[in-house]
Symmetry: D2
Subunit: 132 residues, 4 copies
């Protein structure tokens, strides 16, 4: 990965935190998906058109995350997304969350493209990530 | 309403709380819907069959809630549901949340029955609430 | 209310929707709180300082909402906030959610200011809403 | 792992699903934490006492999950939890989610025990998992 990652700013609200005073661990996965969605949008991918017209959807196949430093209520953080390995039927997205220069979280997801009716895997078009 | 309300027990997990150390206000509405869903199930209403076979769905038209005493992580609470006013196109459900004898929250929702395709209101069958 | 309401743009992600294909009813209350938080910030209210230094927190006492038109995945919507009635111990916030010119939701909340340790109500300073 | 895993039944509500008609990927992590919390309770671990009296909290250090088959609205599923590797400062929990005999998800988390004030790691007492 030498290209610069896509960056998406996120504000932490009460809804994101829990009684330990920090962001609830499952909610980081929401933040990560917002960054992926906006990264795909920045590449010209229209997920509504995909679902309604082409009947194709993206589905998370697997994920992992390391929780390094917690985020707190009101923090301004940044979630990143960058294309990792691309195979015939899936692609990997490498993601991080930062608060300023501090790395809070490191994650990766493997995503498949499915036919929304048959739920069968579709070939992932390489052109998807070429941004035009 | 003289009949006894339906009761559904709920355990408060970290996911439900926020950094103020109590249940996040929007999450009580999740608890209330769990109680409504289970109350409907207890009356023999099969929401999956309704949606998939009959193409009819329940939709919340309006709601109100008074937050009286907060619930905390690990609390065992009970959400209730009881039929309120029933009109041609909507019905009201009166709901409360208790921790033991302590009333934590008082709420009400107005629910409509819609055609899932046209999203047009359907007549609410009175028999729905008679539990056959 | 003659003054213009504060406006906060929100994008609808998958996390906000449910299997009926629209935003899950409880999640609108998250959107409404984001708008309130950002409105307070725009008035110079620092909720982190309030909680940590002054040990005072805002708490929702009651709320109501009318769900008029549903929002869908990927919609760009706007949540508003405007000061309503202000009493000694509470204040009301009038809120709406729009998609373009279409009114999706109308809501109100009554908020109290509490001492974070004793949980006793505090007098709400009128200056809070004067924006300087 | 030869011992039988702890099992916790979960009902899928609308709150858990998204507009793809299945459980939203981040919400499985909520289900997994419910099972861990109940497993710890079954071993006699009182997390409220731990936090309030002993000032010690459990924190998820890392996690991974494979999403094999999706769960739908109204499904009755079971989340499991079983102790994996135990080191001085962390322990692993191996988890699965089933619908009947169908494996929906396979996951693991690494958990640390922290001092709630200093956020420094504490030695994990082996006796914790012996259920006395």
């Amino acid at each position: 990965m030498t290209e610069k990652a896509f960056e998406w700013p996120i504000r932490v609200y009460y809804e994101d935190t829990d009684a330990q005073g920090v962001v609830y661990y499952a909610n980081y996965f929401r933040f990560l998906e917002r960054a992926r969605t906006e990264w795909l949008r920045s590449l010209g991918v229209d997920q509504v058109r995909m679902m309604q017209v082409e009947r194709r959807i993206f589905v998370v196949v697997s994920t992992h995350a390391e929780f390094i430093v917690p985020a707190h209520f009101n923090d301004e953080i940044v979630a990143t997304a960058a294309l990792g390995a691309l195979s015939r039927a899936t692609f990997d997205i490498e993601q991080k969350i930062f608060r300023g220069d501090v790395l809070l979280l490191r994650s990766g997801v493997k995503v498949a493209l499915l036919d929304a009716d048959s739920m069968k895997p579709q070939r992932v078009p390489k052109a998807l990530f070429e941004g035009n």
